[in-house]
Symmetry: C2
Subunit: 334 residues, 2 copies
């Protein structure tokens, strides 16, 4: 839909500044963007969502964790370390989850450390070490604030992670939650909106631990994979919502219109290159199946190539449809 394209590196100050200098409004759909350039653009009066000062915190998993602590937002216990030497010196109990402070994406830069050998084979860079959580469920909550300061919240979705990839495979919305869990999540939503005081939209990824305590894993300040079901399932899709925020329009209703189950279409394990999506006729013959292919020309193992949302009378209906679609759809690497 673009009138113009600017080619450059998202990490390069000059490139990012050149991208933004003649624009009025800049939306980000990826966190790892040069902050100095964004701050300069903000100073020049551009509307930037999310706000560069807040993005700077989110870009760094260490700063994110410290922000949670500051706002009493529940999260897994953690330590910060500049390198492997510092981690060894701390003598932290094993196992723990090691996360690169910056530039992790889609499961990259995250490693479970069971032994000191695991640590040696990991990166030697500033990292967060996190207590291992016995994860019972994973949820996502999307909250936001429009330019008039009015806030909104989508219903919680449950995320089902892929067994072999650190990636969401299925999303289920809406879900029924025990009152005490819903209350924890509601509080977290308020806390996050308090911690981030600008115009924006935040996808809060949550863990439910074995004691039914809800913990914040990470926050993404943008449209998010865990909101794709809102296209068909909500009165306002997350994409329309983001555009409303950008244009200074009132935020739209987050009401659920129908049960949905969403499946990410992931590139097959161990294969890279050009591919064909096959079985589409079979997939699309059932009512209430919405196919989204992102038009990526090549696949990599577990690359997100698209998603399918199913709608139905009940969540069970949706699951049946998605399982059947999953059977029929083949990503064939050439």
């Amino acid at each position: 839909m673009a009138d113009e394209i600017v080619i450059g590196s998202h990490a390069d100050e000059n490139d990012v500044y050149r991208f933004g200098k003649d624009l009025d409004i800049i939306l980000l759909e990826f966190e790892d963007i040069n902050i100095s350039a964004l701050k300069k653009l903000k100073q020049e009066g551009k509307t930037i969502i999310c706000d560069p000062n807040e993005l700077e915190i989110i870009q760094d998993k260490g700063k994110q964790k410290m922000l949670y602590k500051e706002h009493a937002i529940p999260t897994a216990d953690f330590f910060l370390a500049d390198d492997q030497k510092e981690i060894r010196k701390k003598n932290v109990p094993l196992p723990f989850v090691l996360k690169k402070r910056t530039q992790g994406y889609d499961g990259g830069g995250v490693k479970k450390i069971n032994t000191l050998h695991d640590l040696s084979s990991a990166w030697d860079a500033p990292s967060v070490g996190e207590e291992c959580i016995d994860i019972k469920k994973e949820y996502s909550l999307i909250v936001g604030r429009d330019q008039s300061g009015n806030t909104f919240r989508y219903p919680v979705v449950e995320q089902h992670f892929h067994n072999n990839a650190h990636l969401v495979h299925f999303l289920v919305a809406p879900i029924e939650l025990k009152q005490q869990i819903q209350t924890q999540i509601d509080t977290i939503g308020d806390q996050v909106l308090n911690a981030f005081s600008t115009t924006g939209m935040w996808a809060i990824e949550l863990f439910l631990d074995a004691d039914e305590k809800v913990l914040v894993n990470e926050i993404a300040p943008r449209v998010h994979n865990s909101g794709h079901h809102t296209i068909e399932g909500s009165a306002t899709s997350q994409f329309s919502q983001f555009i409303r925020l950008a244009l200074g329009l009132p935020h739209g209703s987050t009401k659920t219109l129908t049960p949905t189950v969403t499946m990410n279409i992931l590139g097959p394990e161990g294969k890279s290159g050009a591919y064909q999506a096959e079985g589409l006729s079979e997939v699309l013959k059932t009512e209430g199946i919405f196919l989204h292919l992102y038009g990526k020309k090549t696949t990599r193992p577990f690359r997100k190539l698209g998603h399918i949302t199913t709608t139905g009378e009940t969540t069970d209906d949706c699951w049946k449809k998605i399982r059947s679609a999953q059977q029929s759809l083949q990503i064939v690497v050439e």
Copy 2:
């Protein structure tokens, strides 16, 4: 969304051929396209929807009328004439509706002839003259056929025309019809699918006359203004449907998901030039209002600049929302 753009005249054989020669699939969203070029492209094996031989009939309101006659499709009585002289010679009873056989669009090339003076001031070109119908209601029925030969039909919509322009102003779907009217429309749907035997989608514009007889006005072989409500209101939008047909996928469900009322956003009377759409914040603060602006840079009197679809529990709800949106939205010409 295009990777490439070809600039030329849709009426020019070389331009249209050049546009299509390296494509596999060609969809039309406008009828008045050079037929020789399309036929040549079809011979070369391109998938073209609608089929050029059928488009040739539709392009010519005279041939359209003769096709209806051939298939016993009910339509207003008519005569054909090559010029004004021939019309005068026929001595047809006044009044009648004069329509240019080719190149009419959005109310252009249609004129009610009450007196011989009206005729003199009209065009002198091959035309259809039609009996004046006492129109009680106007409907539209969208039917189609996928590449496997399976047919589909969307629920009938009611069209409310603008008082001053020969243009649809509002669409209401779904509607309740008397059984005898529904039966007439069902039969027409079958007849049209019989008359057009290829892969395609046909929007059939219908009149209900004072005797509650349903007559076909015109057929458009493409996505159509009278199907815009399907984006929010139907299990498969007319746009997804057209893509399914093009790609050889099975047609999608035409089930109604919610009552809708759709309003075309028309350029104000007597004004042309650059414009701003104002009042959007007011329009968008209500739930179930979906704004579509087409991004046209300039307006002309009654130009279709976009549309708004409202969804709600009942058609009355939708009407309330659309009336309120109509009040709030201002097209301000600079």
